[in-house]
Every structure is written in structure tokens, then in C-alpha cells.
Amino acid sequence: MRIAFNSFPDSLVNQLSLLNSQQARLESEVDTGKSVSQLSDNPPVMQQVLGWQVQNSSTAQYQQNISALQEQATSSYNAINSLQTLSARASTIATEAGGAASPADLAAYASEVNQLIQEGLQDANSQTAQGEYLFGGTRNSQPPFVATTDASGNVTAVTYQGNESVPSAEVAPGYSLSAQVPGANTSGNGPAGVITDSSTGADFFNHLIALRNDLQAGNTQAIASTDQPALAKDEDNITAQISANGLIQSQLNDASTVASTQSTAVTQDISQASDANMATTLTQLSSLQTAYQAALESAGSLFNSNLSLMTYIEL
């Protein structure tokens, strides 16, 4: 093939340009650690990675949801656990007062039950760290249980001003959990109320008030026949609530484990798909740099030698 004067420079420029662009690509891989960083680098992989990123982002949000629900569940558990202690004490008082108790003992018990009612109100109106009432259902910006007192300061009635709905939040795609329970459920539908629940017959505050009234009245027969069984229903309901809370916490732990496992797996997928293989990349880069250097050296040598027929001809 005949070689014209411009053949070599043209070819050299093309070759150097090609080597330069390949070097730039590999250097970018080394700098970023990514073999795929732009849409056009590898469209199918990029689409996969973007999809995984969305999945990872959602999973991170689910993990935050789970953490928040776990906090709510723990707060609920603490309040319900305290209520269970109160309920157990009330049952004990009812049992002891239903037996042979003196009027002074009954008066002391009545005073203690008044105290239990006050403590119960505090527990039933527990708040989250954000100031929302745990047992108000979705009407949670105001105390769910409001007490009516007589002139002596004794609670004569407790009204529930929350509702029976509880918010749930997604912990996985299409799977929602709620860590809250309403304070009262009088419709029999939906989650059971912690204090009042028509389906189980629980009505903790009214039963405590009745016990106190019977203690004050010295009506031991009513205590034994009415108050004691009623308080047993409250205790059963509260125990069931603790059990349900445990179940929710267990489900949240499971969801957290699944989310964490998924996040790790997806992160690995992203890494495998888009991370540069440094050993390969650096080897390729080194080869290219050698080729580039060789091209420059041979070009320099050819240009410097300035060889042509002209060198040897004396006209």
C-alpha cells in the first residue's frame, strides 16, 4: 500500500484519540469506583441499579417506620404494663375486701382505689415523645380520658373522648402494622380497647369507681359478686393487650430483620452490578498507558528522525 505523507499523522491522531478516550473512561472508573455511572454506560444495568436504589430507599424508609412503630409499641407496653399492675392490685383489694374486712380497712381500701384511679388515668393518657396520646385512637391530640370529680375530688366518671381507629404504617410493600390500640372500643368492631372494650366486658375505670363506691358503702357482697368478676374481665383484657403488644413487637422485629436482610442483599446487588473491578480496571489502564506511551515514543522517534528520500538526496 502506498503511504502518503499525511497517512501516518492522521493515523497517529486517530490512534492517540482512541487511546485517550479509553484511558479517560478507565480513569473515571478508578476515580468513582463505578464501572457504570451514566445511563449510556450500560443501559440495562443502569435500569436495574436505579430500580434497586428505589427499593433500597423504600426499605430504608420501612426501617424508619419499623423503628417508630417499635418505639410506639414499647411506650404502649409500658403504659399497659403499669395498668396491669394497677388492675392486679385492684383485684387483690376486691378479693381482700370481699372477705372479712373491718370498716376502717374498707375505707383505707377505698382511698387506695381512688389513688389507683388517678394513676390509671395517668397511664391511660400516656403520650408519645411527639406529644400524641397513645390511647386516643386517631383523635390523639387531646387527652383521651377525662375524669369528672365530685366536691371531694373523687372521680365519679371517666369519659373517653378518643375514637376507635388506630393508624397503621407500612413496614414492607403492601404490609402494614399498627403499634397503637384505642383506649375504648364500644362498638365491638376493630381492635380491642385497653380500658373499655364491649366485646370482653372490660370497663376498667367504671369498675374501679364501682369498687370504690362499694368499699365506701361497705357493700362487701356487691364487691364479691359484682366488682371482683368485673375487675377480672379488666385484668384479662389488659393481659390480652400485653400479649397482643408482644405479638406486634415480634412482628416488627421480624419485619426489621427482613428489611435489613433485603437492604444488605440489594446493596450487594448494586455493588456487583455497578462497582468497578479494580484489579481488572487498573490492569487495563496500565496496558493502555503502555500502549499510549509506545505510540507517543514511536511517533516522536519517526518525527525526530525526519526520514525521507529528501534526507539522502543532494540536488
Binding site: T32, L39, D41, S58, Y62, L69, P167, L309, L315
Partner: protein
């Protein structure tokens, strides 16, 4: 029998021919770095002999022609490949700009940990961010901070939609402008080619030779025209070349029969026709003009259409759920998003200064109710029938992946095309390029031949002198 004076004529013709040869070699050397130049060679032949009694006797040498060494087939091929290369370069440039406008780029989230990545600045993270913030709101629907986060994220998403749409519209306008500008340049080249055809025809008709340098200039114009629009060159016997674009004869010899023009095919999208057949689009298959039109009407139109459909569907679906919700003041019925598509999507202005008016609850008077917030958050994972049963993010990813595929194909095709063009260029160089070695060799040959002829003149001069002396003596 020829006399000494006849021999002098022969020597003289030799001197002339070698001088002409030196001039041709000089012309070649002078144009050694001119890429449009095709090397020339001197073609000589023995001058017409005279008949004598002892047979034909030579009368020296005569120059037949200064011949241009070129391969018309290669030139035609290079013109065609120029069109293809230019088409792909325009396509690549526009798609690269679109890719930058989209702004999706994978980056390591930290310098030390390259295993986790995040895309920055793109709609993808804004979309998932909105649905994540709605999830956070569903946990604490009465929280002002959570409400504000949703509103801010939605505003950012809407602004990103607007910005991407604006950038793509700007790119669209640039491509239209490029079509218009290229059509103007093509018309100018058609006119120049016609002018050169005229000069070539005239020169060749007068001298009978080849107007080599004018042919070089025309070839350069033809190749420049090929960069703009693909055409079929038709060589005429008089040395001129006709130019046929999209089946229409635009340049016929020294006449420009028709010109190119742009027309608005609707919505400001420019197409190309001839002036004589206005509004009838020319069928073009290469060149930067078609590269711009093709990219604008396919990859970019599809990208913009996909983003508009995504934004439109987002507005419709979010508003359908949101408008049934209740805000903290018990109000309902408002929309969350305003606008119709990516160009004008926005967030209800009332929300900006009043997060309490965000309708997150499904029932009135229950600030802790999160039904609407949760339903909105779940939209993020819900397949949308209007988006081909893909989620919002899935649809977006598919849309931008189409752009990535188009650019990847353009990159790959252009790389292959450049290799083809480089090979053709080398091939043409090997035929038409100037070689210093060749020219130096020719110069030495012509110089030595010139010296020999000069020596002959000197010898003849001596012989003539001897004859003259004989007469005197």
C-alpha cells in the same frame, strides 16, 4: 534525415517537458498538507514522428495532460460515509445533552465506601423521596415537620420536572435552529457547487484538459454538503456533477434547479422540503440535518412524552386520593398538585405557608388519622395502568433507560463509523495523497532528464560551432 536543428527541437521539447514535471512535483509538494488535494502526475508521450525514407523519425516529447490521481468510487463512498458520520455525531451530541439534562448519575455515597451508591440530582431520587416522606407522614400525620417535609419534597420534585422539561424543550429548539442553519449552509454549498461546475466545464472545454484544482474545490464542497445532507452525485460528460437530494434534482450542472427550505410541520417542529415542493417533506437518510430531525422526533420526543405522561399521571393519581382527605382544620376537596404535565406541574400554593392544610386524614376531626397519607405513600409501589402497569419510578427508569440505550447505540455506531471512515480516508490517501518520497524521486528523475537534455543542447551547440568553423576555414 533530421538535421542538427531538428535535434535541437527534440532537446528543447525534453527541457520543456522536464520543467513541466518539476512544476507538477512542486505543486504536489506545496499541497502536501491540503486534505482536499489529489496528487497530480505529468503524462507525456512521444511527439508525432515524421516519415522519412528510412522510417519514422522522432520529434521529441510532448506533455499530454496533468492528470489528477483520484478514485471517483472512493470519493463517492467517502461522501456517503460523511453523511452517516455527521448524522451519528449530531445524534450523539443531542442525546448526550439530554442525558446531562436528565442528570441521573450513579455515584458512590462516600469516598471510602464504594459499595453503596446514590443517583444525584435526578427525578428518580426526588420521586422516591416524596413517597418516603409520605410514609414518614403516615407515621405522624399531625406533625408539622413531617407535613413540611412532604410539601418541600413535592416542590423539589415539581421544580425538577419543570427544569428537565425546560432543558429538553431548549434542546428541541436548538435542534430546530440547527436544522434551519444547516439548510442555509446546504443551499450555499449547492450554489458554490453549481458555480464550480460552470468554471470546470468552461475550463475543460477551452483547454481540453482537466481543471484539477477546481475539481478538488468542488470535491471539498460536495463532502461538506454530504456532512449536512445525504445526496446522490451524478457525473456528467462535461465534467460537471448533478446533485440529487431525496430523489429531487437540486443541482444540475451549472444551474441550481431548486433549493432546500424548512417548514413548520406543527408545534414549531421544522422539517425540510424543496422550495418547489413546499411542505412535502424530503426523504433524507443521513447528514446532520436528518440527524437533528431524527433525534428530535424519536429519542427526544419519546423522552419528553414519557416524562409528561409520568407527571400527568402523578398529578391525576395523587390528586384523586388527596382531594378526599381532610386537613387539620377539617377542610377537604383541595388538590395537592397543580398543572397538567411536566411543563407546569406545581404544588398547591396554599400548602407552602400552611402545612396544616395538607389533607392527610381520611376522616374529619381526627388529626392522628393517616388514611390518606398512607394511601398516597402506597401509590409509590402501585402499578399504574396508564404507565404500562409500571410504578412511577419504574416508568421513569424505563423512559430514561430508552434514552441511555439510544445514546449507547449512537456511541457504538459512531465508533464503528469512525473506523470505517478512517479506513476509507487511509485508502484514499494511499491513492491521492502526496508522498514526499514519490515527489523527491520524481524531482530527481526530472532534474536528471533536464540535465541530459541540456547536455544534448550543449553538444549540438558544439557540433553547430564545428560546422560553422568548417565553413570559415
Amino acid at each position: 534525415m533530421p538535421g542538427l536543428l531538428d535535434s535541437l527541437d527534440i532537446a528543447s521539447s525534453g527541457l520543456n517537458a522536464q520543467q513541466q514535471g518539476i512544476a507538477v512535483a512542486g505543486q504536489n509538494l506545496a499541497n502536501v498538507n491540503n486534505p482536499a488535494y489529489a496528487r497530480q502526475v505529468l503524462v507525456t508521450q512521444a511527439a508525432t514522428p515524421v516519415q522519412t525514407s528510412i522510417g519514422q523519425e522522432g520529434t521529441g516529447v510532448e506533455v499530454v495532460v496533468i492528470q489528477q490521481i483520484c478514485n471517483a468510487l472512493l470519493n463517492d463512498q467517502i461522501q456517503g460515509e460523511n453523511s452517516t458520520t455527521s448524522f451519528l455525531q449530531t445524534q450523539q451530541g443531542a442525546l448526550q445533552t439530554a442525558q446531562s439534562d436528565i442528570g441521573e448519575q450513579l455515584q458512590s455515597t462516600s469516598a471510602t465506601d464504594t459499595s453503596t451508591v446514590g443517583s444525584t440530582g435526578g427525578l428518580d431520587s426526588d420521586l422516591s423521596g416524596l413517597f418516603n416522606d409520605l410514609q414518614a407522614l403516615s407515621l405522624d400525620p399531625s406533625s408539622t415537620a413531617a407535613r413540611q417535609a412532604v410539601i418541600s419534597q413535592a416542590q423539589q420534585l415539581a421544580a425538577q420536572f419543570n427544569q428537565v422539561n425546560q432543558s429538553l424543550s431548549g434542546l428541541n429548539a436548538q435542534l430546530n435552529q440547527s436544522v434551519q442553519s444547516d439548510v442555509g449552509s446546504a443551499n450555499q454549498l449547492l450554489s458554490q457547487i453549481a458555480g464550480l461546475n460552470h468554471q470546470i466545464t468552461l475550463a475543460q472545454g477551452t483547454s481540453g484538459g482537466t481543471a484539477n484544482d477546481l475539481v478538488d474545490l468542488r470535491e471539498q464542497d460536495l463532502e461538506n454538503l454530504a456532512n449536512l445532507v445525504n445526496f446522490q452525485p451524478v457525473a456528467n460528460s462535461d465534467g460537471s456533477v448533478n446533485v440529487v437530494i431525496g430523489g429531487q434534482l437540486l443541482g444540475s450542472g451549472s444551474d441550481v434547479e431548486d433549493t432546500l427550505q424548512t417548514y413548520d410541520a406543527g408545534g414549531g417542529q421544522l422539517l425540510v422540503s424543496t422550495a418547489n415542493a413546499a411542505s412535502t417533506p424530503l426523504t433524507l437518510t443521513g447528514g446532520s440535518i436528518q440527524g437533528a430531525i431524527d433525534t428530535r422526533d424519536n429519542a427526544l420526543a419519546s423522552l419528553q412524552g414519557g416524562l409528561n405522561q409520568l407527571a400527568s399521571q402523578l398529578i391525576t393519581q395523587v390528586n384523586a386520593v388527596y382531594s378526599k382527605g381532610y386537613d387539620l382544620n377539617g377542610n377537604t376537596g383541595a388538590d395537592f398538585f397543580t398543572g397538567a404535565d411536566a411543563s407546569d406541574i406545581g404544588v398547591n400554593a396554599t400548602l407552602a405557608n400552611a402545612p396544616s392544610t395538607l389533607q392527610a386524614a381520611g376522616v374529619v376531626g381526627a388529626p392522628g388519622d393517616n388514611q390518606v397519607a398512607a394511601a398516597l405513600a402506597q401509590l409509590g409501589n402501585a402499578p399504574q395502568s396508564a404507565l404500562g402497569n409500571q410504578t412511577f419510578s419504574g416508568s421513569y427508569n424505563a423512559t430514561i433507560t430508552d434514552l441511555g440505550s439510544a445514546l449507547s447505540n449512537a456511541n457504538s455506531n459512531l465508533s464503528d463509523q469512525q473506523a470505517v471512515q478512517s479506513m476509507l480516508s487511509q485508502q484514499r490517501n494511499s491513492v491521492s495523497g502526496v508522498s514526499l518520497d514519490d515527489e523527491m524521486s520524481d524531482i530527481v528523475t526530472y532534474q536528471q532528464a533536464f540535465q541530459a537534455s541540456a547536455e544534448l543542447v550543449a553538444t549540438l551547440n558544439t557540433m553547430l560551432g564545428d560546422l560553422m568553423n568548417m565553413k570559415q576555414s
